[in-house]
Structure formats: C-alpha cells, structure tokens
Symmetry: C2
Subunit: 343 residues, 2 copies
C-alpha cells in the first residue's frame, strides 16, 4: 500500500508493504553513492540487505542509543560522505529506529545543504510515528532534539517483516505511540487495543497510526498548531524521561505514563487495562516533584503557562493552556487506580 504525504513542497510516498526491504532497489533510487546509517541494536542483516541493492553503498554503524544523536557522530557521518566523494546527487538511507532516522535525516539535510534521504524504519515506534513527518535532529548536553531541521524524506519504506526480530518490550514501546494517536483521533484503532488484537493486527495498527500522523503533518508541517496533538502524553512523559538515567524507561513507556493523567476519568479507566495488557508501566516510580519540575522545563511552556493536550472522550482532544502550577496540582491529584496496591 502506498500513502502519499501531501505537502506544499516535497511531498513523498510512504510504502507500507511486507518484504519491501528486499525490493528496495526497485522502490528507491539506489543507483548512486548511498550512505546507509544503522546502529548496533539493529540486526546487521537489514543494512546488508539494502547494501546488496545499491550501486555504491557505504554502511556506517553507530552505537545504539540516544548518545549517537550528537554533534560528534553527525560530524563523523559528514566526513565519511566527504571522504567517499558524495555529491549532491547521492543519498542517505536510515535503517533503524528513531535515533538512526533522526541522525541520518539531519546528516542528509546538512551535507552539501541537503541530499536525498530515504527512511527504512525497523522498529514499531519509528514505523508508526517518527519515520514520517520530516522532523530530524540531534541532542545537545542531554537536551533532546534541540538542534535539527524540518527535512522531508524522498520516500519511506515500511516493511513489517523486520519487526519479527524485535523484543516484546520494544514492540510495546512503539504501540504506546499508536495508543496515543488512537486516543486523540481514532476510536476504532483504540478498539483494536481494547480487543487485545494489536499484535495480530500490527499491519492495520501501523496503517491507521500512519494515516493519523499523515493527516496531522499535512495540516501543520512545521508545528504551528494541530501538530501539538502528537505531543499528547509527552509533556509529563518528557519529565519522566528526564529522570531516565535512573529508571531506564523507553520513550513509549514514558508516554504511557504521561497520558494517564491527561485523560478524563472514564477514558483513563479504559486506558489503564490497555496499557497493562501491553506490559506498559502505569505508575510513575520517580519522585513526582522532580518529574513535574523537569516537565515544566519542556518546550511547550511559555512563561508561566503550559499548553497540554487533554482527551475528554476516546478519539477526541482539547488543547488546554493553564498556569504551570495549576497543571502540576491537577497531576498530583489524579488517582491512577491500577487495581493493584501501591507499595
């Protein structure tokens, strides 16, 4: 199936198809110099499968994890391209999850002021979310995505076959973002989660999540308005993530925690069992005041007020702007009743 991202400039196709990685040579223009960026957490076979279809491939395997989204690694990738005489007519392909996509995408955006970029996401998280939308970036001093670009890929190749090698926790991590999108925008997708069918119906989940993200990005490519709904669960989630050195939660797990207090009580009562069925966390284990402080340093804060996305009914959303202290107060007073006793 092909979804087309309609943008005023630089629209592109998203190809969702099992086995597409093995057919990349037909679907992408690889008859040139190709920098393939992957990481040590991705089975090497995937980058090799792609390389075998390129005229002139160079594989760069960066260390897995956010640490690779750095100026040092960006510089290194640009140097590799330079040493291999890449020109403006050559290209970069990401084979990996969100870290690889962000890093490779910003490299492609910057080398010679922009070369073609293809994204072949290999995780649920990147297949349902980060591989489309054109936001690429690196981190600086523990601040995520502070340096980057809006840069659209030429094409995105989503092959659900590659998910077969993912550990269950990584799958749930990605599904958390799909749950997020269902809550604000797609009650039928949420029903798949309630029916405990998300893994069996992963192709459908990916497709529906992509359709939501595509519609949002088409309406608001550069985050002026609607795109904020994609941040549902992310304000508090980023607060949890900022404590991540200690608790090692994945991004989707933090989003799961961030969504719970931002729903109406009735929605929360339905969300809780969904998260539990995916083995996603439902209780913030960190010191709540530290999390709230970190969250209120988020990009979404302007001065003393904060804008957050709130879900009053499944499939609907509101943008609420309120004083930071009022928001913190509301979160502190939200009872997350998981049916288990707190320790």
């Amino acid at each position: 199936m092909i979804l087309h991202m309609n943008l005023p400039q630089n629209g592109y196709d998203i190809i969702l198809e099992r086995g597409s990685l093995k057919r990349a040579g037909e679907l992408l223009n690889l008859n040139r110099r190709v920098l393939i960026v992957t990481d040590t957490g991705v089975p090497a076979l995937y980058a090799q499968t792609l390389a075998a279809q390129c005229a002139n491939p160079v594989i760069e395997t960066v260390p897995t994890g956010e640490g690779s989204k750095s100026f040092a690694v960006l510089e290194q990738l640009c140097r590799v391209m330079m040493e291999h005489h890449f020109t403006r007519s050559d290209c970069v392909v990401a084979v990996g999850g969100g870290v690889v996509g962000d890093l490779a995408g910003f490299t492609a955006a910057s080398y010679m002021r922009g070369v073609d970029f293809y994204n072949c996401p290999t995780t649920v998280l990147s297949q349902v979310d980060s591989s489309i939308g054109g936001k690429v970036a690196i981190n600086l001093d523990h601040v995520k995505n502070i340096v980057g670009a809006f840069y659209q890929p030429k094409r995105v190749l989503i092959d659900p076959d590659v998910l077969s090698t993912l550990p269950a926790r990584q799958i749930s991590n990605g599904l958390a973002e799909a749950v997020k999108m269902s809550l604000t925008s797609d009650a039928e997708l949420f029903a798949i989660f309630e029916d405990r069918n998300a893994i069996e119906r992963i192709d459908t989940v990916i497709e529906r999540a992509l359709r939501i993200k595509k519609a949002v990005v088409e309406e608001d490519e550069k985050e002026a308005g609607l795109r904020r709904i994609l941040n549902f669960g992310h304000t508090l989630g980023h607060g949890v993530e900022a404590q991540n050195d200690r608790n090692h939660l994945y991004h989707g797990e933090c989003v799961a925690l961030g969504m719970l207090p931002m729903c109406a009580e009735e929605v929360r009562a339905r969300l809780l069992p969904v998260l539990e069925s995916l083995a996603l966390p439902t209780r913030i284990e960190d010191e709540m005041e530290l999390v709230l402080d970190a969250a209120s340093h988020d990009k979404k804060c302007k001065g003393q007020s904060i804008s957050v996305v709130y879900v009053p009914r499944v499939g609907e959303f509101e943008i609420r702007t309120l004083p930071i202290e009022a928001w913190k107060h509301e979160i502190r007073n939200t009872v997350i009743d998981s049916g288990k006793e707190s320790t």
Copy 2:
C-alpha cells in the same frame, strides 16, 4: 531603499540605508532574546550598537577567519542559546562578514529546527554578495561550505556607514565580487569600475550588485541552474584558494584571478586594468598544475567534465561544459598580459 527578495516561501526585505544599524531596533524585531554573533575582526562597537537596541541580547565573539566555520563553534553557539533559554520565538543576528553570516545563519537554521535570522553584513563582500541568497554553512577538514542549509534571513540590514572602518584591501576584496557580477550581467556597473568611480559610488555599486544577485536567487533559489553564474571565476578561484595556506589571498582576490582566463580576449583586456586599479592580483603565483588539480576537485565537476561560466562580452555569459583536460589546457594557454614582465 528596500529591495524585496521574492521567493515562493520566506521572501524578505533587504534594507540598504546609511545609518540603519543605529536604527535596527525600529527595523528588526529585537524585543526578545537575541544572539548576536560577531568576530574579533569586526569593530566591537557594531555588535554593541545592536545589543543596545535589544531587549535581551547575548553577544558571542568568535575568532576571525574561516576556522570559526566549524562544528565545534556551531555546537558552542547552540549551547549558549540553550543555556540562555532561547526558544523558537527568539532570534540570531549576524554582525560581520561572510564567515559570521554563514556560521550564524546555520546556527539559526538548526537551533530548535530554525529560529529567526537577521543579517547585518559589515564588509563589502558580504554587503554585495554573501548576506543575501540564503546559503549558510560551515566547513569540514578544509572543505568549504560542505555542511549547511538553504535558510533565508527574515531581513538583511545593509549599512554602508560601517564600511568606513574597513582596510582598503578588504574593500577591494568585496568589489571583486561586484566586478564579477557586472561582467556576467551589468555592463553599466562595469563602466563604473572602468571609470575608477567604484569607491566614491559604493552605495550604487552595492545596490546594482544586490539587484543582480536578487534576480538570480529569485529565479534559482536552490542552485538548479542560473545561480551558477554567480560562480563565474570561482572554479579556478577555488583552486587558488585551496593553496591559500601559503599565499594568504582573500576570497575576492582568488576570484579576480579565476575570472581572467574565463573571458574573451577583448573582455580580458578591459578587466585587467580594472583589477589593477583595485590593487587586485592578476597573476597566479602558485604552481599552476596544483591549482588546476585543486580546481578540478570542485563541486562543479561531474565525472570527467566540468561546467564553467565564460564571459564572451561584458554583461553576457555562457555556461560551457567541457572535458576537464580540455579546460585545463585552455587555462594553461591563456596569456595574461598585465603589461608587466613576468619574473
């Protein structure tokens, strides 16, 4: 005078006006956090004049010279913005020549995926050329402008008053680019140079050069075609520049040398005295074969052929694509008769 750069997206005004730096607070939106990037070669007074008109200024003074167009300095500028809590609503202003404009512009393009950028060029070279057009970049391992973006300023403020502090050699360096533009596109501007009036009529020279560059950029924002005429003299010029560690020529001086062999004989006979009147060099002092080798590694080479701009008559140009060896042969055989004896 206001020239408007008409682009499909992100058009902007170029304000050419004596005394405008002192009125920047009226002409730019400085009522926010403002990172002012300048360098040690620019009189500190200019950045201070601007800072005095900002609500919340931070001045960063980088070392003068191409060395500051590096990943290390880019990272440092982003860190400064982060530490001063710059948001997407804040801005960056360049106060300096081409190095400062390129560096500050790429910083603005990348921080939070893009904040507003203003350019206040303080050299002839940047006033007539590099401050408009939206090409920003840093260098990597001695390769110039290999990493960057197409990123348009919100406004460009050109104040010829600031040129009063420039040494004569720097003025000639900038005028070389205006001579270049006159040769391909504006015989009347070339006449000003032939009449030895360029310095007295500097405001007119700047305006006419800006009009040429503006027209070229409007037609070809991303260097797909016409914009190549701006590279007149630059292919061989970059070859000379690559030997620059030794001979310390300025960019405009290298362009002067690069233009001479790329003109018809009759044009060259008129260009030579113009360059001499500006004290620009007219003879390549480096080993010609090294220069030609360096030049043929230029971006404009594809495979075994090279595209160069040639001026058959003053105010006209041709794009010639020829085998690299044929081009080298032509340059070797061009006699530059400066009326002085070669040593």
